[in-house]
Symmetry: C2
Subunit: 135 residues, 2 copies
Amino acid sequence: MNNTRFATALHILSLLSKYSTEWLSSDWMASSINVNPVIVRKELGVLQENGWVVSRKGKEGGSRLQVKGSEIRLGDLYQAIRNSDILGKKNMNTNPKCPVGKEINNRLDSLYSETDRIVLASLNEQTLENFVDQF
Amino acid sequence: MNNTRFATALHILSLLSKYSTEWLSSDWMASSINVNPVIVRKELGVLQENGWVVSRKGKEGGSRLQVKGSEIRLGDLYQAIRNSDILGKKNMNTNPKCPVGKEINNRLDSLYSETDRIVLASLNEQTLENFVDQF
DNA sequence: TTTTAATGTAATAAAAATTGTTACATTAAA
DNA sequence: TTTAATGTAACAATTTTTATTACATTAAAA
């Protein structure tokens, strides 16, 4: 994760949680995050796919939470947003003629997936509600 | 970490561990990893700074481990190699006029550092020796 | 019915991060 | 003296990330 997607998604969810009675526009959320509105709409798409958010088009449109903050676990959010393993990428094309090159990716696989597992478990101890309560 | 640095560094260390009686050249290691030799030499620089590896110049030069594999903890390796938080980057310049924009980075700080702490602790349960023994 | 203001999304551009390459000074063994 | 290694700077290429533009679609309000 050398990107801002988790921070952006959690920012969006925090806004929706704090102003849960209103339909918030992507432009308005974008100005709180200070990021392009299209980025917000793309991230909202992911949040919708996971059933956390609902959006509606047209005048007076916008987005709001579909479920309670206590039902959105931060590990699930991370899972939805991530695009690489925590420990990074592996070198593909390592040399199969070398005993280490031949086997290392198998060994890295278990190390990488165990690390991912631990992070997800840790994040899942917190929900959006917990997070927003800290404000 | 959307890069291959951890995988590359651990590959290098695994080679040095497996062939611990020899001085391995960066060219040779590069051909096992299938990566440019200059990348290997740069990463070796980091490993040297941490006292794990020693290199020598000149004909018959190369690199080898400076300490036993059991003394190199994978969390320390990750710490030496990483260049961003596990959960990614934060949005700088969030809007201070918005209560969420104003406070979110403080909240993210603790979530991010706690996640980092957990990963380091988990990785530190393994050493280079443990890792190489799996081969 | 028209105007207004929102989402959704594709296409593209720009910026940032990562990886690769070239070149060469330095070093030390053969 | 030759050979073969590291160290490193400078630069190029590639990949990833973020931003932007454009516009079709939608729906409330005037």
